[in-house]
Structures are given as C-alpha cells and as structure tokens.
C-alpha cells in the first residue's frame, strides 16, 4: 500500500505545483504564444517598464507594511489579553471574522465606509484598504500568537513579578521575548495575505490606490499578456521565500 | 519440553545501537514466561519482533516450529495486549472483542464472544466504549479481544503498569489464574522484578539487548548467573566476590559464635520501611552494608558499634568482572 501511496503523492504534488511551474517556465518564453521559442527576459522587462504595474507594486507594498505593523501589534496584545483571561465576545467575533466569506466582508466594509463618508469629507483610498486589511488580519495574528502562548509557562511571569517586575515589565521583558518567533511568523502571514488580497481590496480601494492584484486581475480579464506570467512568477517566488521563512520561525 | 516459541540468535539493530543482540530463547508451551529488565534493555523490542511490528536484523523466529519472521502481524497466530491496551475508541467493548473474529470471517461470533465475556467478567459492559470503562475493565477487554482468537501465544507488554498500585497485586493473581484456566502460553514483558518473580513459571532477564539469564524464579533470585541479575532482582550487599542479601543478614552487639560469617561495623542510619527496618552500617572501608531487621526488634542508634553476620550458605558467589 505504501508504494501506491507514494505514487499518489507524486501525482498530488504535481497537481499542486505543476501549474505554477508551467507559468514560471513560460514567463521566460520569447514568444507571446504557448509555443516555446527560446529563453528571453523580454516579459520581465515589459513588466518592469509598465508604469501602472510599478505604481501598483508600490501601493501593495506600502499597504502590506502598514497593515502588518498595525495588525501585528493589535493582534499580539489581544492574544496576550485573551491568554490571561478568555473573553467569549472577542473570541467569537474573531472567529466570525475568520469564517465570513471575503465578499461579504468586502461589501460590508464598502457600505460602512460610504456611510461614514456622509459625515466626514474623506474618500476611499490607501487608508481604507489598510484598515480593511488590519481588520481581517487580526484573527490570523491572534491564532498564531495564541498558539505560541499556549506553550508558554505562566510561572515565568509570576516569577518576574515575584522578583519585583510590574505587570507591564513582566510582559515586556519576559513574555514578549518568548513570543517573538510567533509574532514574526504572524507578521509574515499578514503581509502575505495583505499583499495578495483581491476581493476585499477591489471593493474598498479608491482610484489612486490600485494594488498589484487589482492590476493583474484587470490584465487577466482583458486577455492574455505574458507580462502577467512574469510578474506572477516574481510574486510566487517572493511570497514562497517569505512563507518558508515563516515556517522556519514557527518550528523554532 | 515442547516449546511454542523459539528465538535463535535474534537481533535488532538500529542506526546507532543494538536494541536486541543475538537473543536465543525458547518459551515452553502452556507456561507464563516473563521477559524482565530495566527500561531500554530490549525486552519490548523483543516482544514487538515476535508480534511482527518490527523486522529482526538477523536470526530466526519459530512459532510451533515454523519460521515466522517474514510474516506480517496479521498472519501470525500470536496476539498482543498493549501497554495502553490500544482499544479502538470508536468501537464498543463487544465490537472490540469481535474485531479479530470478523477479520477471520468466523461465522459464529456469538458463542466464543459470550464465553470470553463471561471468562473476563465483562457481562453487562458489552456496549460501553473504552472511555466509559475503568482501567481494570479496559484491561479485561484487551485480554478478551486477544484470547477470543485462541492464539498460540499471548504477548503482554507491561500489562499492569497502567493500573492503580492498589489494583496491581490483585490483577497479578487474576492474570496467573486466567493463564492456568485458558492454558494459552503467556509471554509477558515487565520492568518490575517482583511482578516477574511472583507470576512466572520462567524468567529471562535482559540487559542492554543481551540475555543475562534464563531460569525459574527461584534460580533467578537465589542463584543469579551474573552480578547484574543479582542486583536487578533484589537488594544485595557486595563484599568482593561475594554477595549477600539484606534479609539473609543479622545484626548483633557481640560477634556471633559458630560457623557464621561476621564483620564489625558502625551504624550510620536506619530507614523505617513499614514491614521491616533497614539498618545501614559502615564496614570501615566506606562501603555501606544494609541489614534487614524486624520492626519490633532492637533499635540501633547511629554511631553504635555492632557486628553484622550471615550464614555462609546464603552467600552468592559471583566474581567481579575484570
């Protein structure tokens, strides 16, 4: 049976990876058609010279960094607070935010922003995207950091306070350093999710805040463009490295 | 004597150590035989080799005279009672007991199952799931599940270790009488020498993957073949090449008369053990000598000069290894 299982695993891994491998291979094709005509970096140059893609990449990066910073801080503090004592309200809300379909989160935020804009003279833009990303990322951070806290010995904090540390000092000097690998892996997760999100972002982005997934989506809808293969390959490779780094952190 | 199981120079080597090293052993039919030794001595690995969960690196395994080392576990007519019992949690007691018979395609499940349920006093518990049973009940289901298959050999891996200490002595005796009634050969693994001595018809003592001695309980205790066996099966004081057990030793203020061995000593401490008192005495060379004295006997305060003595016939002569 184990031989059949290994054979099956080869097939399953091919299914999971071949589409991305094929995409990557053809991003180096000199032809724009699905016929191999020689190695070329022409589509990478096209992607880099595309002003719209460049601007979108900068936006995505900025949104990713800001959302990661805010969500990681808020989520880590929240995980710690919940570890001290459970709160059914917050836990249930977090869980709900995790399982609500993206499209529902997107339209609900859109409706909310439009409602708020009646009273404030602001518009959709990078800030609304960042807030949206922070919202759906908090649950990821709480999950990852919370998992790390479950293996943390509460006695260490008691020892710190017994030695004269205040509550805050005990958290800052004893608990937080122990949590850092979990916090870092949560931050990577948030960045990846933020960088990749299309469904929610497309609903709450303004005209000046197009992100990379939005541009790729538009190009993919418009018709075949090998520059999309090139930029996709770069994204897969970049995110892949981040994910592997995150897995390392989580195992440590 | 006719043997059910024979091991001929059986070895199991892992990358960095030899878990079982050339063990040769035969288990007499109808006996209750124990493999005993400290943890990591290879006794459990030996059991797993017999069950078929591990493949030997060398040697031969014979069940009723036929080689079995190439057979998978499900084709060997041996059955195992696991240390944690390994009852299937999604099946009731009865379904656990029927499991093996169903795999064999036995047509009449009812009568053998009923017989074994009665034998192990499980009537009324048939529909319980493992998590609804006490430790003792779980153990009896595990026994029933194996015995209903009437194996040539029943393997028991530390069968008493998961039970409460109070229950252990009682179950020990039940296990022995169960074995006598069903007549199936039991091969039992334990790290508890007292358990092995009290239960077994035959004992094999293992240490670091090797067999140290095979014998009946009396031989093992009174005539140990190696210093390891002598120390493992009970407390012992060593004086050079001679060992003497605390319970064979006496203590007195004056040196004894006659054909007895004695040594002058200074009492260092006493330990109350409930049924007796152990007096630790210094023979002058720094070595501690333990003497078992009756609870209601004389009291020997620390610092008192005394004589310890014993009969020469109680001495165990085992030269120190070079």
């Amino acid at each position: 049976m184990s031989r059949w299982l290994s054979l099956y695993a080869v097939a399953a891994y091919s299914f999971l990876h071949l589409p991305l491998v094929v995409l990557a291979v053809f991003s180096f094709n000199s032809s724009r058609y699905t016929r191999w005509e020689g190695f070329s970096l022409v589509w990478y140059r096209a992607a880099f010279e595309d002003a719209q893609l460049g601007e979108a990449a900068v936006n995505s990066f900025l949104i990713g960094v800001a959302a990661t910073a805010l969500a990681t801080i808020a989520g880590t503090l929240c995980a710690y607070g919940l570890w001290k004592r459970q709160s059914a309200w917050i836990t249930t809300t977090l869980y709900l935010s995790l399982v609500t379909p993206e499209i529902v989160i997107g339209i609900a935020l859109l409706a909310f922003y439009q409602w708020v804009f009646r009273f404030l003279s602001i518009q959709l833009g990078i800030h609304t995207v960042i807030l949206a990303h922070v919202m759906f990322s908090i649950a990821y951070v709480v999950t990852v950091v919370g998992a790390r806290l479950r293996t943390f010995d509460a006695g260490l904090e008691e020892a710190a306070m017994d030695l004269g540390a205040t509550e805050w000092q005990a958290f800052r000097r004893v608990t937080l350093p122990q949590l850092l690998p979990g916090v870092a892996s949560a931050a990577l997760l948030v960045f990846i999710t933020s960088f990749d999100d299309y469904v929610i972002t497309s609903l709450v982005a303004g005209v000046d805040s197009e992100t990379l997934p939005m541009v790729i989506y538009a190009m993919a809808r418009r018709g075949f463009n090998p520059a999309v293969n090139a930029i996709s390959t770069l994204i897969v490779f970049g995110l892949g490295v981040l994910i592997l780094a995150g897995e390392r952190l989580r195992e440590s | 004597m006719d043997s059910v199981l024979e091991l001929r120079r059986v070895s199991k080597h892992y990358l960095h150590h030899r878990a079982v090293d050339e063990v040769t052993l035969s288990v007499p039919r109808g006996s209750l035989f124990s493999l005993v030794g400290p943890s990591g001595c290879g006794k459990t690995t030996t059991l797993r080799l017999v069950a078929g969960f591990e493949q030997p690196s060398g040697g031969e395994l014979l069940l009723n005279g036929s080689r079995i080392e190439h057979l998978p576990p499900y084709e060997r007519n041996v059955s195992t009672v696991f240390q944690n019992y390994a009852l299937f949690p999604h099946l009731s007691a009865r379904q656990n007991i029927e499991f093996g018979l169903r795999r064999r395609g036995t047509a009449d499940l009812d009568s053998p199952v009923r017989k074994v349920i009665e034998l192990l006093r499980l009537a009324g518990k048939e529909s319980r799931r493992p998590h609804q049973m006490s430790g003792g009940e779980r153990q009896r289901v595990a026994l029933a599940r194996s015995l209903v298959l009437e194996p040539d050999l029943l393997l028991l891996d530390e069968p008493l270790s998961a039970l409460d200490p109070q229950l252990r002595k009682q179950v020990r005796m039940e296990l022995k009488s169960l074995q006598r009634r069903v007549g199936i050969t039991f091969l039992l693994v334990t790290h508890d020498q007292e358990e092995a001595l009290s239960l077994s018809d035959g004992i094999a003592v293992m240490n670091r993957g090797r067999l140290e001695q095979i014998g009946d309980p009396e031989q093992i205790y009174l005539r140990p073949a190696t210093r390891f066996v002598a120390s493992f099966v009970g407390a012992i004081n060593w004086l050079g090449n001679v060992g003497v057990r605390p319970e064979s030793t006496r203590i007195a203020q004056t040196p004894p008369d006659g054909d007895l061995r004695s040594k002058a000593a200074i009492v260092r401490s006493s330990t109350f053990l409930g049924n007796c008192v152990h007096v630790e005495a210094d023979l002058g060379d720094g070595a501690m000598f333990v003497v078992e004295t009756p609870r209601d006997g004389d009291v020997f305060p620390p610092g008192e000069r005394v004589h310890v003595w014993w009969h020469p016939s109680d001495e165990i002569f085992l030269p120190e290894q070079p």
């Binding site: 695993a9 999971l16 808020a74 993919a220 809808r221 994204i235 | 969960f53 194996s146």
Partner: protein, 276 residues
C-alpha cells in the same frame, strides 16, 4: 493582571467593532431598506428584499453554488485523504512534504487561479499538448466551463482538507493500527475499519472549511467561469457594483452568512481543536 488586560484587548476590540460588527449591522439594516432612485439606500423599512430571494434565477445560482461546493468538497476528500495519509507516514522528511502543501496554498490565490486560465485557454498549454499528441483534432474551450470552476475550487482549497485530516492522523495512536494488524486486519481493512473512522473529526473539519470557502468563492467563478457560471459570491458583488441594488445585495450576503453559520455549528462545538 486584570488592570492592564483591558488595555491589551482594547485596540483589537475597537477595530473589530468598528470595521466588522458595525459594517455587518449596516448590512442587516440595508437588507431591510429600499433601493434609492440613484442606487442609494433609503426608507421605508421592508421585507421585500427577502421576498425576492425565492426567484428561480436566484435559486438557480444558489443551487449551483451549493452543488459546486458539494462536488468540490467531495473531490477534496477523495484527493486530500490519501495525501494526508502520505504526510502522516512520511517519516523524517515530513516537514518538507508539509511545506510542499502549505507553500502553494499561501502563495497568491489570484496567481494560482490565473495559472489555470493560462493552462485551460483555447490556445493554452493543455489544448496545445492534446492537439499535438493527436488526442484532440481541434482545441476546445475548457476555460469558462463548470469544469474549470470546480477544478479551480479544488485546486484552491485542497490544503484546507489535507491539513486538518493530517492533524488527526498525526495524533492517531500508532498502537491502534498495530493492534488491528495484530488481530488479523490487513492494511486495507485497518484503513477502512480503524484509520478512516478515527479521522472523521479531521474529515469533517476539512469538509466544512472547504465547503464554506467554495460557497463564498468569488474569484474562481469570476475568472475561470467567465461570468457564465456565476455563484452566489458573484451575485452579491454584482448587486453592489453594476446593478447598484445594495439592499438586495445585503439580503443575499446575509443569506450566505446564514448558510455558512449553520454549516459551522458542528465544527464550533469542537473549537478546542484550534481554529485551523
């Protein structure tokens, strides 16, 4: 540690209240209001939006969403269980094999969906290869079909099935499998009598995760179904963008939420096993 705790919880609680609970509340309110003349939302309060849901057109889309989600979930169980079993038995290289499942899962969902567009197009690689091999005389359109949508859903959410099943298989006491073999069960019997029944919690958790993800899918039917095989997620999005009927879109999204919540009930009871 009771004084500081409130401060630790406050940022997340505020963010979740403002950006999740209040927006959901607004959707609830909108679903009971009327579409304004220019696409806005206005009074009076009404149940009309819910009364419109049983329209055959919308029922068809709802039915299609449930059907595609069910087919995709079934395929994910069939494909995911053996892979999880392989992972659980893969020995010292387990972390590598696990990473090989997780990495494509987290790399851009959009790019992974796009990769299938690239493969399935009429002039895409699969058609080219099939024509070149002589299996097909002419390329045919595989993209924008129900097949493409279900393929995309299975591809997108397979790891949601594999990881929970793997987690239960990994916790499975090895001695139970040994006991089954010891009692005479052959490997396949032991698989069906012991391993599969005992991994039911993982299969259930994975199935619910995959099913609700498929049910709420937007990107996959949009890109691989090309507007021909729209699912409920697309219908919701459509009401908020081109159709500009926010009240009806709100009612639809609450219906979607309701179905998701009902499906989650059995899993919520097992929450102690962790969120994923």
């Amino acid at each position: 540690m009771t004084r500081l705790r409130a401060w630790f919880l406050a940022p997340s609680a505020l963010l979740l209240a403002a950006l999740f609970l209040i927006p959901l509340g607004i959707i609830c309110a909108y679903s009971l209001m009327t579409r304004g003349p220019y696409g806005g939302v206005s009074g009076p309060w009404t149940w009309d939006n819910y009364a419109r849901l049983p329209d055959p057109l919308y029922l068809l889309i709802l039915w299609r969403s449930l059907l595609y989600a069910a087919i995709s979930t079934a395929l994910c169980v069939l494909m995911g269980f053996p892979l999880a079993l392989f992972l659980a038995r893969s020995g010292h290289r387990r972390n590598l094999y696990l990473a090989l499942v997780i990495v494509p899962f987290w790399t851009s969902f959009l790019v992974r969906t796009y990769a299938w567009m690239f493969l399935l197009r009429e002039t895409g690689l699969i058609n080219s290869v099939l024509v070149w091999l002589g299996i097909l005389e002419q390329p045919f359109e595989m993209l924008y079909t129900p097949f493409a949508v279900i393929l995309g859903l299975v591809y997108g959410y397979l790891p949601f099935m594999v990881l929970p099943i793997y987690a239960t298989l990994e916790r499975l006491d090895r001695s139970l499998i040994e006991a089954a073999a010891d009692l005479g069960a052959r490997p396949l019997e032991s698989l069906f009598r012991i391993v599969i029944p005992l991994s039911r919690p993982g299969i259930l958790a994975g199935s619910v995760l995959v099913f609700i993800s498929c049910l709420g899918a937007y990107l996959t039917p949009d890109l691989l179904g090309g507007g021909k095989t729209i699912m409920i997620g697309n219908l919701v999005q459509n009401q908020f963008t081109s159709a500009r009927d926010w009240p009806f879109g709100s009612a639809l999204s609450l219906l979607l939420m309701l179905v998701v919540m009902l499906l989650l009930m059995p899993v919520l009871r097992r929450r102690q096993e962790g969120l994923l």
